[in-house]
C-alpha cells in the first residue's frame, strides 16, 4: 500500500515536470507551427541560470525567475523575429524545417553551455531540496514539491492567459484557423512573437523546476526533449490542459508500471501506449 501511494505520488510529480516542459512547447507549436527542438535546451539554460544564481549570488532560483522569465520572453520573441519569420517567408508549412532549424540552434546552445559551464552534471542544493514531507504513507522531497508548485503555477497562468486575455484568445484562434485568424484582424506577427516568447519563458521556468528534481548537464536537453515530444503528441498540440494531463498520465504510467514489471521495461509501456493512442486518435488524446 505504501508503495502504491508512493508510486502514485512520484508518478504525479514526475508527470508534472513533463507537463510543464510540454505546455510551452505545445503552445508555440500551436500558435506558430514551429516545433521548437531547442525548447528543452532553453530549459537547461534556465536550470543553469537558477543554479548559478544560487551558487554565485546566494539567490534562490525561484527569486531568480524574476529575471529569467522576462529575459527568456525577450529571447523567445527575438528568436521568432530573427529565425522563425525568415523561415516562414520561405515556406508556408514550417513543421519539419523548423525541427531541423531549432535542432541547429539547440546544438549551438549546447556547445556554448558546455563552454560556459563545463559538461559537469549539476544538482540544485537549497534548504528545501534536502527536506522531505510525508503525504499519507508516502514521502515527497522538498525539491520535487517545489518543482510541482512552480509547474502548477506555470500551467495555471497559461490556462488563465489563454482564457482571459485578448492575446491568449488570439493564440487559440491562430491554432485553430491559421489563415482565418489573419482575416479577422488578429496581428499574426505580434501574436506569434508573444507566443514564442511565452514558450521560452515557460521553458525557463520549467528548467528551474526540473533542476530541483533532476541532475542536469548540457546534454540533458535530449532526453527531456523526448519526453516533451511524447506528452505533446499524447496530449495534442495547442492544448495546455491536454498536454498537462498527458504529462501526468505518462508519469503515472511509468511509475505504476514499474510496480509490476521490471523497471527497465517501464518506459516501453509509455512508448507502446503512445503508439496505441496514435492508432485510435492520430492527433492526440484530448484533441477534438
Amino acid at each position: 500500500m505504501t508503495q502504491l501511494v508512493q508510486a502514485v505520488t512520484t508518478g504525479l510529480l514526475v508527470g508534472l515536470s513533463y507537463a510543464v516542459l510540454g505546455v510551452g512547447f505545445s503552445l508555440t507549436w500551436g500558435a506558430t507551427g514551429v516545433i521548437n527542438a531547442s525548447h528543452t535546451m532553453v530549459a537547461v539554460i534556465g536550470a543553469y541560470l537558477g543554479y548559478f544564481a544560487l551558487a554565485w549570488f546566494g539567490v534562490d532560483p525561484i527569486i531568480a525567475l524574476v529575471v529569467i522569465l522576462p529575459l527568456f520572453f525577450v529571447f523567445g520573441w527575438g528568436f521568432f523575429e530573427g529565425l522563425v519569420r525568415p523561415l516562414k517567408k520561405r515556406t508556408r508549412v514550417v513543421g519539419l524545417s523548423s525541427v531541423v532549424l531549432t535542432l541547429g540552434v539547440a546544438l549551438v546552445l549546447e556547445s556554448l553551455t558546455k563552454l560556459a559551464a563545463t559538461a559537469n552534471p549539476r544538482l540544485l542544493q537549497t534548504a528545501y531540496t534536502s527536506r522531505s514531507f510525508p503525504i499519507g504513507p508516502a514521502r515527497v522531497g522538498g525539491g520535487p514539491a517545489m518543482a510541482a508548485v512552480i509547474s502548477l503555477v506555470v500551467i495555471a497562468a497559461l490556462v488563465g492567459f489563454r482564457q482571459r486575455t485578448y492575446l491568449g484568445r488570439a493564440m487559440r484562434a491562430l491554432e485553430q484557423e491559421p489563415e482565418g485568424a489573419a482575416l479577422t484582424g488578429i496581428d499574426v506577427r505580434l501574436t506569434s512573437g508573444v507566443a514564442t516568447g511565452i514558450g521560452f519563458a515557460t521553458a525557463g521556468a520549467a528548467g528551474v523546476a526540473l533542476s530541483m528534481i533532476y541532475v542536469f548537464s548540457p546534454t540533458s536537453y535530449l532526453p527531456w526533449l523526448v519526453f516533451t515530444f511524447l506528452v505533446v503528441i499524447l496530449g495534442g498540440v495547442g492544448t495546455v490542459l491536454g498536454v498537462s494531463l498527458a504529462g501526468l498520465f505518462a508519469g503515472l504510467a511509468v511509475s505504476l508500471a514499474s510496480l509490476v514489471i521490471p523497471f527497465v521495461w517501464a518506459n516501453l509501456v509509455l512508448f507502446v501506449l503512445l503508439i496505441l493512442v496514435l492508432l485510435v486518435r492520430p492527433t492526440g488524446l484530448l484533441r477534438r
Partner: protein
C-alpha cells in the same frame, strides 16, 4: 522521366562503371586510414540514400532511422559473437529484421503526417532500442564483442570497405530504380498531396509501407556491416538519436528529390565534420555544425543540388 531509350541505358552503364570504380579504388594501394574514412562516408551515404526513399520521395521524414541501423548492427554482431557467422552472410538477415520492425511500426506511424510522423519515429527508435538491449538471454546490455573481419589489418579494412561499397551501390541502384518507376511517381504524388494521390488510384497505405520497409531494410543492411567495424558495441551508440538526426541532415543538405542529394550531402557533411573536428576541435565544430543546420534551412531549403548551378541539377534529375 523521358522514354527509356539509349540515354537511359547509358546512364545505368555510367553508374555501373562508377560502382566498379568505387570497388576498385582500394586496389590502388589505398591506406588503411583512408579506407576507414571512406567506409564511414559510404555508410552515411548508404543510410541517407535509403532514408530518402521514404523521407525524400514520399515526404515522410523519419527521425528514428537509427532504430534500423541498430537492429541490423545487433543482428550481425550477435550472430557473429554467438554463432561465428560472418556479417557478410548475416547482414541480409539484419535487413530482414529491420524490415520486419518497419512493418510492425509502420502501420500506426504512417497514419501520421509531417512533424507528427517525425516525432513518433523518434520515440519508436527509443522503444526499439529498449527492446533490443533487454532481449532476454542475449546480454546485449553488457556490450557485444565483434571480432575483426580478417587476421591482417589491411585485409580487415579492405573487406569492410568492399562490403560497404556494395551496400552503397545496392542502395543507389534501388533508389534510382524507385525514382524511375511507377512506384516512384506514386511516392512523389503522396509527397505532394496524399489525398489527391489516393483519389488517383495510388494505394497510398500500401506504398508508404513498402517505401518504409525498403528504406528500413537497406538501412539495416548498412547497419549490419557498420557494426562489424566497431570492435565492441555499446548499446548507447548504435541507437543514438544523433545518428538519426545526422541522416536527415545529409538528405536535407544535399537535396531530397533524387539519390544524388543524400549521397552528396553525406559526403560533404561527413568530410567537413571530420575536417572541422580536426582543425578546430569538437566543441567549435559542433557550434559550426549547428549554424550549418540553420543556414541550410533558411537559405537552401531544397538542398545543395538545387542551390548549385542549374547544370548540376539537370545532370542529377536526368
Amino acid at each position: 522521366m523521358r522514354p527509356r531509350g539509349r540515354s537511359e541505358r547509358t546512364i545505368w552503364l555510367m553508374l555501373a562503371a562508377a560502382g566498379v570504380g568505387l570497388l576498385a579504388v582500394p586496389f590502388t594501394g589505398m591506406s588503411i586510414y583512408l579506407m576507414s574514412v571512406a567506409f564511414v562516408v559510404m555508410f552515411h551515404a548508404a543510410a541517407a540514400v535509403s532514408w530518402n526513399i521514404l523521407g525524400g520521395y514520399a515526404g515522410y521524414e523519419s527521425f528514428g532511422h537509427s532504430a534500423f541501423i541498430g537492429v541490423g548492427a545487433y543482428t550481425t554482431a550477435l550472430l557473429l559473437s554467438h554463432q561465428g557467422l560472418s556479417p557478410l552472410l548475416t547482414a541480409p538477415v539484419g535487413a530482414l529484421l529491420a524490415a520486419a520492425v518497419a512493418v510492425a511500426v509502420g502501420y500506426p506511424c504512417l497514419r501520421l503526417r509531417g512533424p507528427y510522423f517525425a516525432l513518433v519515429t523518434l520515440v519508436v527508435s527509443l522503444a526499439v532500442s529498449v527492446v533490443v538491449v533487454n532481449l532476454p538471454g542475449l546480454n546485449v546490455a553488457s556490450g557485444v564483442f565483434v571480432s575483426r573481419p580478417a587476421a591482417s589489418p589491411v585485409m580487415s579494412r579492405f573487406i569492410l570497405y568492399e562490403a560497404m561499397a556494395v551496400i552503397l551501390i545496392v542502395a543507389v541502384a534501388v533508389a534510382r530504380a524507385v525514382e524511375r518507376s511507377r512506384f516512384g511517381v506514386a511516392l512523389a504524388a503522396i509527397r505532394e498531396d496524399e489525398e489527391v494521390a489516393a483519389t488517383q488510384g495510388v494505394p497510398t497505405t500500401r506504398f508508404k509501407l513498402v517505401a518504409f520497409v525498403v528504406s528500413a531494410a537497406l538501412t539495416g543492411l548498412a547497419g549490419g556491416i557498420f557494426s562489424w567495424s566497431r570492435g565492441f558495441l555499446d548499446p548507447g551508440d548504435m541507437f543514438s538519436v544523433n545518428l538519426s538526426v545526422l541522416i536527415v541532415l545529409f538528405a536535407l543538405f544535399g537535396g531530397r528529390r533524387s539519390w544524388v542529394g543524400p549521397l552528396l550531402g553525406a559526403l560533404v557533411v561527413t568530410l567537413a565534420r571530420e575536417f572541422l573536428f580536426i582543425v578546430i576541435g569538437e566543441d567549435a565544430a559542433q557550434i559550426l555544425f549547428g549554424v550549418l543546420l540553420v543556414v541550410v534551412i533558411l537559405f537552401m531549403p531544397n538542398g545543395l543540388i538545387a542551390a548549385a548551378p542549374r547544370l548540376l541539377r539537370n545532370g542529377a534529375r536526368r
